[in-house]
């Protein structure tokens, strides 16, 4: 009998404000330990929080982007627990009145279909510092640079049914926060973190007992951790056991999840409203102002690409996955005037290059303008599609100007009738047997003869012209 997985994700997104959620300290990544911690971040006595209004606007921007209710009267709470990298002994978070209420996002699955996933809520909270256990021989180091960095914790409904759906959700989340410019969403640096709640059940049955997997820091690990956990739960249930509700950690080295020690989870956080901050009242004016500033979001842009550029749903989905790629594509398409060629070059050649070099779109060695020039040269028949790939490789290697590359290396396509005729005559002369076969009706030999012509011309002859002339000359 089949099992069905039921998955919900809690995603922590680090908001890309210049300063911390409740203090003026910089949030820049990579500074020396404890150089970005002021007296509030250190929880010195008598210091008080002041809410960063930019973080608030970013949270509202996110809420509007997922069509969520915005908390008009949002309240911060203290979440109490002791840990050395939590200076105040409580984390300022939101419990009952989050800034963002119920909303939803649409995920794109690999078969091209879409699925709407509910978002339960999203709330603002401050990050903790870092405990450095490995760097010190006989102790633990505390780095409070990260303490107080603004986070948006986004909780999904348990609407996801497989690890792949979970990854598609995360990727969409990543795309949305980057489109909104509220986070860099970089999982490797912890700007986007994910906890997964996983349970399994027989289709149609009541929800099973869930476990929570913490500490998953890449798309790939999310998929692996959830798949491991689903298999583990199946094994337990099929052996007649039962699932214990617990928090588990994913170990990427051993590719398994393990229960956290009891002590690390048995916390009563004793939430209560933060008396140092007033409730945040959000008026219609502010909401409308933020709504007016919203950029075009991935789903809208995808639909527009389908209509405006005649792209397939799949291509439009790939090209709008990130704002950078969509921007790049549009620039190329507009400048070269051929959206389908542009889509092809961006999603195939350029993407392959970026994957190979492990680069972001922003760091692409081939600029959108260069790629547009290249495609224009294909369209005006200056070069063939094949030669274009050679030129593209040279652009990737650092050359800048398409026309210069073509001229310098003599890559311009040969279209002169006289030149082509000479070439064709040479091919016929040197391949008399094959030429005779074609005359005798063996059509498939033509490809060989065209290939010879291309070879003699170092790929520069216009293949269509060669083809036509060969046919003319070998007419029976």
């Amino acid at each position: 009998m089949e099992w069905e997985a039921v998955i919900g994700l809690e995603v922590h997104v680090q908001l890309s404000t210049r300063s911390k959620l409740f203090s003026g300290t910089s949030t820049a990544f990579g500074a020396d330990p404890n150089t970005q911690a002021n007296i509030y971040d250190l929880a010195m006595p008598g210091t008080l929080p002041v809410l960063n209004s930019e973080a608030l606007r970013m949270a509202v921007r996110f809420g509007l982007a997922i069509d969520a209710e915005i908390g008009r009267h949002s309240i911060f709470d203290r979440k109490n627990y002791f840990y050395p990298d939590l200076p105040k002994g409580y984390q300022t978070s939101q419990l009952d009145y989050p800034i963002v209420g119920r909303g939803s996002i649409v995920i794109n699955l690999e078969d091209g279909s879409e699925k709407r996933i509910g978002v339960t809520r999203a709330h603002m909270e401050e990050d903790a510092g870092k405990s450095l256990h490995e760097e010190f021989a006989d102790g633990t180091g505390i780095d409070l640079n990260r303490a107080g960095t603004p986070l948006l914790e986004i909780v999904s409904d348990p609407d996801l049914r497989s690890a792949r759906e979970a990854v598609a959700y995360l990727k969409k989340m990543h795309s949305i926060v980057r489109y909104l410019d509220i986070s860099d969403g970089d999982m490797s640096q912890g700007s986007m973190r994910c906890d997964a709640n996983v349970s399994i059940r027989r289709p149609g049955a009541e929800l099973g007992t869930r476990t929570e997997i913490k500490n998953v820091n890449s798309f790939r690990f999310v998929e692996k951790a959830i798949n491991f956990e689903i298999r583990r739960q199946q094994d337990v249930l099929e052996d007649g056991g039962r699932i214990v509700q617990e928090t588990r950690l994913y170990d990427s080295v051993r590719d398994e999840t393990r229960p956290m020690r009891g002590k690390e989870v048995a916390n009563d956080y004793r939430y209560f409203p933060e008396p140092d901050l007033l409730p945040v009242e959000i008026g219609e004016d502010l909401i409308e102002q933020i709504r007016a500033e919203l950029p075009e979001l991935p789903d809208t842009r995808k639909r527009r690409f389908e209509v405006e550029y005649g792209l397939s749903a799949y291509d439009a989905g790939v090209l709008t996955a990130t704002r950078e790629m969509a921007d790049y594509f549009e620039r190329v398409a507009k400048q070269c005037g051929d959206a389908k060629l542009a889509a092809n070059w961006v999603s195939v050649e350029l993407q392959a290059l970026l994957n190979r070099e492990n680069l972001d779109m922003a760091a692409s060695p081939v600029s959108a303008d260069s790629l547009a020039d290249l495609i224009s040269r294909i369209r005006d028949k200056t070069i063939s599609g094949k030669i274009a790939k050679t030129v593209f490789e040279q652009l990737a290697a650092g050359s800048e100007n398409v026309d210069e590359i073509i001229e310098r290396q003599g890559l311009r396509q040969v279209t002169d009738e006289g030149e082509i005729e000479k070439l064709v005559d040479r091919v016929i002369a040197e391949n008399a047997a094959q030429a005779q076969q074609f005359r005798d009706g063996k059509q498939q030999v033509l490809g060989y003869l065209v290939g010879q012509a291309m070879k003699f011309s170092s790929g520069k002859a216009n293949p269509a012209q060669v083809n036509q002339l060969l046919r003319d000359k070998l007419k029976p």
Binding site: I39, L42, A43, M44, P45, G46, T47, L48, P49, V50, L51, R78, N80, F82, P84, P87, K88, G89, Y90, T140, I142, D268, R270, Y271, F272, P275, D276, L277, L278
Partner: protein, 486 residues
């Protein structure tokens, strides 16, 4: 000179009869002579005080006429002072030197005052007798065998004993008004949000408010003028104009409606205090006010509600004292758990631990609704009682405390101690301004009349208090221990 009010000293300085250095020197001498007896000060800042006094004299010679220029004062040791240790009366912060000034400290410094030192207090402001201080108990200047009240007991005793003409305090449940009552001086607690809490070490954030301890309401007005105002660093400070407190002192009391809360005259009030307070109310009546009996139906719930809300907030506010970044740390901790346990067991006194435990319990899963949520509901009812009352009256007046100062060690039972604040606590829960002014003596010990105003009615209650002090001389009666010196 040491028995003069700030208003009088300001005039003396202005006409050049004395210099700030002379005045400051006299205060320091007196502190040197009498502090061993009262234990009012935890830290004395002789050198910086004389330097500040000198600077004030120079400024005055240049024509600077600010009213508080060159006036010495003491800060309750709950206000952070840059580079000067700030202990909050606790072993936990025994050697803590903040790298910043509290807003209150900064503002009074900008007003030209001279800081003499930091005054003793109940540990983390938790207490009503100043007996929980790690730095020892404080003697009441009227009888050193008795308590000065708390938690601002050091400030109250210092002002009463003439060690300084004015001092800051904080009031979470009566911590300015009750010691003022016990020490025969004027103690003023503004509305919540009127004075910045930035740099003031938190006990219960939604109740804590800074205020003044002085020898007259007019002096309180002068201090408040310098202290009040919006502070962008404190999100709970209010953005509304500061009234002209001194300018409004002279208004007549004719037509003033004074609410007299029946619950404040119920059993438990000592006969001498009741008689004196009724006489004081009669004095207001003679000045043109009318007395109107009012009910505050939920007043009896204020102490229990307070002892849930305040400890709950305190339990979180005091979590930062963990031995990791600053403050007391136990010797050779074996591991993290040991570091936390011993640092906090050794660094905090019994009353602080008791309140952390009570607060932690009140917020725990399964108890939150029964305690914290219910207490917050009661708090709203208490505030509503006052709002309703202020529809009929302009101010509310009654006793500050049920009796006069008691001997050291007399209240060993914590609950008995908590009941000390039965008349003052509701004012904090409602966020209102209140003042205690001397209104008489019983057994040779002073007691106060409390006047409560509506939200941001600071100017109004200062005016009523000042008018009362124009008609009476209770506030001029000095303790025997200091009388005769000048």
């Amino acid at each position: 000179m040491l028995n003069l009010t700030v208003t009088e000293l300001s005039a003396e300085l202005s006409r050049g009869a004395i210099s700030s250095v002379e005045l400051t020197r006299a205060c320091l001498d007196r502190i040197g002579a009498l502090n061993p007896q009262f234990n009012s000060f935890i830290t004395i800042c002789e050198e910086s005080a004389l330097a500040a006094a000198d600077a004030a004299d120079v400024a005055r010679a240049d024509g600077d006429e600010r009213p508080l220029l060159g006036i010495p004062l003491a800060h309750k040791d709950i206000f952070c002072t840059r580079g000067i240790r700030t202990t909050c009366g606790s072993r936990m912060l025994q050697d803590f030197q903040p790298p910043y000034d509290a807003t209150v400290v900064e503002k009074l410094q900008q007003a030209g005052t001279v800081m003499l030192g930091k005054t003793n207090m109940d540990e983390f402001a938790m207490g009503s007798s100043n007996e929980t201080s790690f730095f020892g108990k404080v003697g009441n200047p009227f009888d050193t065998g008795r308590v000065p009240g708390g938690s601002s007991g050091g400030s109250a005793a210092a002002v009463a004993a003439g060690l300084c003409p004015m001092a800051t305090g904080t009031d979470t449940g009566g911590s300015i008004r009750q010691p003022a009552s016990f020490c025969g001086i004027t103690g003023f607690k503004p509305s919540y949000g009127r004075v910045s809490r930035w740099g003031m070490i938190a006990f219960a954030s939604s109740l804590d408010q800074a205020g003044t301890l002085t020898r007259s309401a007019a002096d309180a007005a002068l201090m408040m003028q310098a202290m009040a105002g919006l502070d962008p660093r404190d999100s709970t400070s209010v953005d509304r104009p500061v009234e002209d407190y001194t300018g409004e002192l002279g208004s007549s009391l004719a037509g003033l409606r004074v609410g007299v809360p029946r619950p404040h005259f119920a059993k438990g009030l000592s006969p001498g205090v009741e008689k004196g307070v009724r006489a004081a109310l009669a004095e207001l009546e003679r000045a043109g006010a009318s007395l109107i009996d009012i009910d505050l139906p939920n007043n009896h719930l204020s102490v229990p509600a307070y002892y849930v809300v305040a400890p709950a907030e305190a339990s979180a506010n005091l979590s930062r004292y963990d031995g990791v970044r600053y403050g007391y740390r136990c010797e050779d901790p074996a591991d993290l758990e040991d570091l936390y346990t011993r640092t906090r067991s050794e660094g905090f006194g019994d009353e602080v631990k008791r309140r952390i435990l009570v607060g932690t319990y009140a917020l725990s899963a399964g108890y939150y609704d029964a305690y914290y949520r219910k207490a917050q509901r009661i708090r709203r009812l208490i505030r509503q009682d006052f709002i309703s009352a202020f529809e009929q009256v302009d101010v509310i007046a009654g006793p500050t405390s049920p009796h006069v100062a008691f001997p050291h060690g007399a209240k060993a039972d914590p609950v008995e101690m908590y009941l000390e604040d039965i008349f003052t606590i509701a004012v904090n829960l409602a966020g209102l301004p209140g003042i205690s002014i001397p209104a008489g003596f019983e057994e040779g010990m002073p007691f106060g009349l409390q006047i409560i105003g509506p939200d941001f009615g600071e100017a109004r209650i200062l005016n009523v208090a000042h008018q009362f002090q124009q008609l009476t001389d209770w506030h001029k009666r000095l303790p025997v221990s200091t009388a005769g010196e000048s």
